[in-house]
Symmetry: C2
Subunit: 362 residues, 2 copies
């Protein structure tokens, strides 16, 4: 299977990807929520277009340069979910706004002033969401009164059209029970709705409530009032959704093919995938550095840059030359390490997929 691929290689099952997208779009549509997927997970035009074709309303980018790549390839409805700070970046943002329908976010006065000045220079009001803190103190303004106070301070900046709130409830990834995840999902909705009401009661016109993690977006039923979800990871799934039981192995589209390159003893096997393939990312509920498909008895207990160290309690029958499949702890960081990933279907490589925005971190 996939004999033509040299390892390590990233394979992505297209049937699973297509099902994951359709399920996410359909689920959210039931509750009148639009899906604007975060493309940081795949950084590829191919998958972004698959998402748009299957009902997504636009995309979310992590950085300005990711958005540039997407616009270059004809994708025009984009939320940049990161503050654009500094004159040079604002100039580049301006060039992008000239060519596409870009939504921005702010979480500081400095950021708001810079963006507004850009809007004024361009002679338009830039569509802007205020980031509301989702519990991880990542730069969002605290929900409720603090957000109202912030909104009042930026209200008169004439280059901005403050039209929505942006929220990332990152603490949800610390939950591994359905009950805990539902509670956090309800909190996302509650904090956004209350803050929206407060602002609109004070003369604002907040119509977009954007939230999203690949946990809460699965619980769309509890996202009352939310208008858009930005889930990104769900397209592949990984250890972060597999270990807490949110998905099954057959929902995990992205795997790393790796070869056993040495067998120092009967318990240990060394593979050709290290931190430059799998990254050092661990997860709240994952074990080691990835899940070895068909070998639940084996743990990837350590990584060097080019070596993965696997061990089992009983002797294992892996031998030099064997090829294994790994579901990584965190899929979103894997395509970024590659120029190309391989789209597979029914055990055959169907398409080489360029990771167009690989490395775009600016």
């Amino acid at each position: 299977m996939y004999n033509e691929l040299l390892t390590p290689a990233v394979i992505i099952d297209l049937d699973i990807v297509e099902r994951n997208i359709e399920n996410m779009v359909e689920l959210n549509k039931q509750y009148n929520i639009k899906h604007r997927p975060h493309i940081k997970a795949h950084k590829s035009i191919y998958f972004a277009q698959e998402q748009l074709r299957r009902g997504c309303v636009g995309i979310t980018c992590a950085k300005l340069t990711e958005a540039e790549v997407m616009v270059e390839h004809g994708i025009k409805d984009i939320l940049i979910a990161f503050p654009t700070i500094g004159k040079a970046k604002l100039e580049r943002l301006g060039a992008l706004i000239d060519r596409a329908d870009i939504m921005n976010m702010i979480n500081s006065i400095e950021g708001a002033i810079g963006l507004s000045e850009l809007g004024v220079r361009m002679g338009k009001k830039l569509k802007t969401l205020i980031e509301v803190d989702g519990g991880i103190n990542r730069g969002g303004i605290m929900p409720g009164e603090p957000t109202l106070e912030f909104a009042k301070k930026v209200k008169d900046l004439s280059g901005l059209d403050i039209c929505g709130l942006l929220y990332y409830g990152g603490t949800i990834y610390g939950e591994n029970t359905e009950k805990g995840i539902i509670e956090k999902t309800k909190m996302e909705s509650k904090e956004l709705l209350e803050t929206q009401k407060l602002l609109n009661d004070n003369g604002f016109n907040i119509t977009i409530l954007s939230t999203g993690s690949s946990y809460s977006a699965r619980m769309a039923k509890y996202l009352e009032g939310v208008t858009e979800v930005r889930a990104g990871n769900y397209i592949f799934n990984d250890g972060s959704t597999l270990w807490p039981g949110l998905v099954k192995e057959e929902d995990c589209a992205l795997r790393i093919l790796s070869t056993v390159v040495s067998k120092p003893d009967k318990y240990t096997a060394i593979i050709d995938a290290g931190t430059k393939t799998l990254t050092s990312d661990t997860g709240s509920f994952t074990k080691g550095y990835g899940y070895v498909v068909d070998h639940p008895e084996i743990t990837i207990y350590k990584l060097n840059e080019e070596h993965g160290f696997m061990i089992s309690e009983e002797p294992n029958d892996l031998k030099v030359g064997d090829v294994i499949e790994i579901i990584p702890n965190h899929a979103c960081v894997i395509p970024n390490l590659n120029d190309t990933v391989y789209g597979v279907r029914d055990g055959e490589v169907e398409v080489s997929i360029p990771v167009d925005a690989r490395g775009k971190n600016i």
Copy 2:
């Protein structure tokens, strides 16, 4: 300073790099040790050529595809310090051996047979080092008798010229005192010398003893008998050498420029460098995810993919838009995330340096 660079950006001080290379070459030359630097740290033709120009005898590559890039650009004396396993990779290795002077390594019978078959097909004996375990059970054969036993098993493979031993003493990175590092360095030398003697007493002709970490290569005085060191990290230095006091801040050539993008409270600042810039790598003796130059009071306590979370015990005076410099925990994984790094001198950008072998993990 470096105002023209959008952040996050990787800057590399060329004066420091040149000094680091020259010091390493000179130090080892005093003890008759050649320096064959590991280019996995920089993955760039520019720096490989700087190393060769300043007295290195060749280079070490982590993977076949890294070596391909180097050969493509005219660098011809290469050790591939990773087992080449499987028919497809061996074929590509053959193409490379046709064009350059490649040294290989083996640590399994399967690997030895594959390599020998390639040599036979090519009508030549391939220069091959046996990997001796350096204490981390990464695939090397245990020093002494086990290596002799292994060598006897592969002796009659007619495609191989068994000419040396390869050793990576990874446990040395667990030491943070000069005494501990010297002890481990002496052990490298002792295990290699004893194993060499044992083999040569049994009819082998082992002339190359290759070792190397950026810790032990600084202790060349204690590397008796070693003929080549493969140190790689030393060209930049990073948290792994800075925190235990092996180098000073002014020896750290690679830094990440990053911008404060939000200031959620007076103790916290959020920067635009996360795991896709700094990686999740920690170090034995580092604190957080990097050392913030000029701000020893600040810790990078958490990373998301695009966000770095910084905190100080007392209120800090960082503000949105400020640009900081970070010395990463582990420099070797940073250039790999970028197409380009910036060579700087006296505070000015002198040259854009392509990371030619970025992402070459095969």
